[in-house]
Symmetry: C2
Subunit: 589 residues, 2 copies
């Protein structure tokens, strides 16, 4: 009977517990993760129209960009499109920021190519898969704070260097000089020495494309009287014209190439060449890689990818979170959710042969100014990309290489930003060092090394404070009672304890008065600093001097008092100085 009772009770409890955590809790947390469930219920006609327009506009940007970014990543152009649709689709379901458009970006392309250069294409896809996995993990384990270790000066230097390197590598297509040179300076050198080999066709068309793109970028600045309805239409038209400039130049120059080709004469500029039509099927990117006659095992591939498995996800998450922050305006960004969404985009994308992807600032700005309402807009740009892949690939043959180079150059050149340097010079030495270090090392040794270097400098800057904290020194005299007050401006953790000790002994040797250490800023003590403080106190005791700790937290007091309580004197506030003075006077009397 008792057993029966116990069993019933146990079952009830179990049901209750399972119910509470596997029922509503789990359901809640799943709903919370599938972001679309939070807003699709309120989706209305107006949202639909807005998203449709924004999606189509975005498609016009993402298609030519993707073709160019694929080239930058050292892949055939259609791989860019492979990466452009799955991200958009997955983000519709899991994304939280309506402006974000996941797809190939110049940052990802240039960062990834450092690790996959001259390797089979599968390396890039495996990298996308593993980067996705890491992003997902970062989201689930709430490791997003890791991104805060990349400060703005480093981001800025990294972005500027990336842009410069991209411009450098693309110039060879504009000049029509085939070159295998790598690195920023080698590329420029090889270009300078071989400038006479330039291909006039590429140069003329590339120059035209650049002028065209820059002009259309500025076209919205034309003053239009937007109070008349005609003016409004014109303004809208100019805006749309500016927005579709990449698609337009690709269309125009391809048409020229097509015409030229049809006329039977040789085309005087280089074309993209054959593009694989169709959409790749599903394949889990966990496989050995065939390179010529050699089989490289999955494990070896992962080993070769090395630090990219941390850097690529880190930069991707950084980019996404920055965009999310820029467009969230006062709302809190659920960074974990963004990482999970990005991770799933890359995981699923890589199963369909996508390269690593993340959000792009340029595209987000397009979405924003097209009046996007929800992440659903991504569906339309994804459909456009899929249509391009299935229908347009025969025409991709005619896209001049120099045009894609022009598209790239014109989209990254405005990322170069030296104005920050002036600000940093006034801000802090560490910031300017981190900027300069990251920028120079990126140009000389590659963006991935530069990024790590910049982060390292910034972290060393942080540690500096723990090694040599500022210590204010005041000589105080209160009613005949004299003492020196030392106020360290940060906590005394292990690297600083020797510094403080030296300072205290120095002062104690000079002036034979009690030393008061103001511990208001001491937020914790580790074993090393505890021991150091105890040693210091007994050293002073030996020479008959007093160490007084002011404003120390009670919990830390307890730690210090262990074993040898008598060597420390604690003051809650400085008025105790007088009390003590009176005590001494009384004792002496």
């Amino acid at each position: 009977m008792v057993l029966q009772d116990f069993r019933t009770d146990l079952r009830k409890r179990l049901v209750k517990r399972v119910g509470s955590c596997h029922g509503s809790d789990v359901k809640n947390s799943v709903v919370r993760r599938i972001s679309i469930l939070n807003w699709i219920g309120q989706y209305d006609r107006e949202d639909l129209v807005s998203d449709f327009i924004a999606g189509i506009t975005l498609g016009l940007t993402i298609i030519p960009q993707s073709l160019a970014y694929a080239g930058l990543a050292g892949l055939p152009s259609h791989y860019g499109l492979y990466a452009a649709y799955m991200g958009s689709l997955v983000y519709v379901i899991f994304g939280t920021v309506k402006e974000v458009s996941i797809g190939p970006t110049s940052l990802m392309a240039l960062l990834a190519v450092q690790y996959t250069m001259d390797k089979p294409i599968q390396y890039m896809i495996i990298l996308a898969f593993l980067a996705g996995l890491v992003e997902l993990l970062m989201g689930v384990l709430k490791l997003g704070f890791l991104v805060s270790f990349i400060p703005i000066p480093v981001t800025s230097a990294f972005t500027s260097a990336t842009a410069l390197i991209i411009v450098g590598t693309q110039l060879k297509h504009i000049f029509g000089i085939p070159s295998k040179a790598r690195g920023f300076f080698q590329t420029l050198y090889s270009l300078a020495t071989r400038i006479v080999e330039s291909n006039p066709g590429d140069l003329v068309l590339g120059g035209f494309a650049i002028v065209f793109l820059l002009a259309l970028r500025q076209i919205t600045q034309i003053p239009v009287d937007d109070k008349t309805s005609r003016g409004k239409v014109l303004k809208k038209f100019l805006w749309y014209l500016s927005l579709s400039r990449n698609a337009l130049i690709v269309l125009i120059t391809s048409a020229i190439a097509f015409k030229w080709n049809s006329s039977g004469e040789p085309v005087p500029f280089k074309l993209s060449g054959h593009v694989q039509p169709g959409i790749p099927g599903f394949e889990l990117p966990i496989y050995n890689v065939q390179s010529g006659n050699v089989t490289i095992t999955y494990f070896e591939v992962v080993k070769e990818l090395g630090s990219s498995l941390v850097l690529v996800p880190l930069v991707a998450v950084l980019a996404n979170v920055s965009i999310a922050k820029a467009f969230s305006a006062g709302k809190i960004v659920d960074a974990s959710q963004e990482m999970i969404a990005l991770g799933l985009c890359n995981l699923l994308g890589s199963c369909f042969s996508a390269m690593p992807t993340c959000g792009a600032f340029t595209r987000s700005a397009v979405s924003h100014s097209s009046g996007v309402r929800t992440p659903l807009a991504g569906i339309y740009s994804a459909i456009m990309t899929l249509l391009a892949l299935s229908l347009l690939t025969p025409y991709f043959y005619f896209i001049p290489k120099t045009t894609l180079a022009a598209v790239l150059i014109c989209s990254v050149v405005f990322m170069v930003d030296f104005s920050i340097v002036k600000v940093l010079f006034r801000a802090s030495k560490t910031d300017i060092l981190a900027w300069g270090g990251c920028f120079c090392v990126s140009l000389f040794a590659g963006v991935e090394v530069g990024l790590l270097f910049g982060i390292l400098i910034s972290i060393v800057g942080l540690l500096k404070v723990w090694v040599r904290p500022g210590i204010r020194q005041d000589s105080i005299e209160k009613q005949g009672h004299r003492y020196v007050k030392l106020s360290p401006e940060t906590g005394i953790f292990f690297p600083a304890v020797d510094f403080l000790r030296t300072k205290v002994i120095e002062v104690a040797t000079e002036q034979k008065v009690p030393i008061v250490v103001d511990c208001s800023s001491v937020i914790g003590l580790d074993h090393t600093s505890t021991k150091g403080m105890k040693e210091l106190a007994s050293e002073l005791e030996k020479v008959k001097q007093k160490l007084i700790l002011l404003n120390l937290k009670p919990s830390l007091k307890k730690v210090l008092q262990e074993n040898n309580a008598e060597i420390f004197t604690f003051w809650e506030d400085e008025s105790e100085a007088e009390m003590e003075n009176n005590n001494v006077a009384r004792n002496m009397a």
Copy 2:
């Protein structure tokens, strides 16, 4: 005439300047560096006698130790003596702490052998040279603070692991089992599986040596009535007996071996074998190394030595500074001078074929209890070592290997210290992690990896504070004026700015009151945090909420007010809340 005046004036100025900096200043700084000049003037007869006794006593310790440490470092025994005299001599001139005795140590031997194992002997000498160079540089550039990045838990774990590993490797000599096993666990495993191969002769002699050494170590504990003059003599005798136990056991067991050998019968335990007599000549350790038929260039050797070039000097400096601190008792140790002295000891030593050296705690304790007065004591131990090298080497042949192993085991086994673990468990999570990490990794992957790992964990622990600072939240209501005060306990540098931003927006969304951020602990702002604070302020402004910064340093106020001063409100103290309230009331009236 004017020109003449000008020239005279110029010459006078030049002479003055050169005089002031090249005359007395330089002389002063040279005198300061050559420490002996500071005290040799006051050197008297009493000092001489004390130093002589201490020096001889030290010699009795350093000779058997050196022979054993050379074996530990994988070198023939006489290399230990090569390293034992030059350090003592150089330290006489440049050292500041009379107790320090520079020579081979178990720490240095075990650390260095990780990098030079199975390599030609020259590797060890080149390492000593370069380590000396780095130590010298650390001293000149005042980089001694680097040592503060090794916290006590890591030092303790590193020392314990080193001692355990040494005991492990020496057990094979005690058991007389030749084994090439490496690493702590492999050595123990190989010993356990081959225990039947033990050599009874080695085992008996080794066991006897260990018992002898441990007994003599305790002999000073025998209660002696030291009030009678006979008791005093007895006490002194016991103390000396205990001190010379290493020398005694080497002497006794060598004598046994010598007798056995003279009797014509085979000696039943392994002997040290032929020892090169004589003192090596001067040779600058900058040379290519011959290994069999292969020539290894100097550059390659340096490359192979890799991280040892940082770790060996770091540990050496750490050991020296700790000893100096332990014996300085309330005086400030000139750490730079100690580094310069140590560097010169190694630089000069390596030119006479020395392995890397540093101060040893055991020897310093011997010096201290022998009543050392000045670093001059080192001269006598150096002379003893040189005599041993020139006269005693034929007899070194007969030192049983098992005796040296016993000497090593008995001198390191008391370095194993687990009592700290209990303390650390109560102290901090980072400390216990650093201890455990360093200890385990040292045993599994070598002491050098363990040391780096422990330091890394400790640094990550420091960074944690910058990423997620504690933020106290108080809801305050003063005369109808309500606000929420957020007080971060440390400065807001770049890793923390997002954390603070999220917290502020969270609170601001919940409670529609002004947010006061108490900036008392904010010691600086970098570019990232400045920008973050500005963004935060304008985000709050958009939703018509106020961000008030309390107690911000004036210099930082200026940085924040640049460009957009109006978005921040600053309070000097909280009484301004009431004033503002009155203002608002007046404005409304």
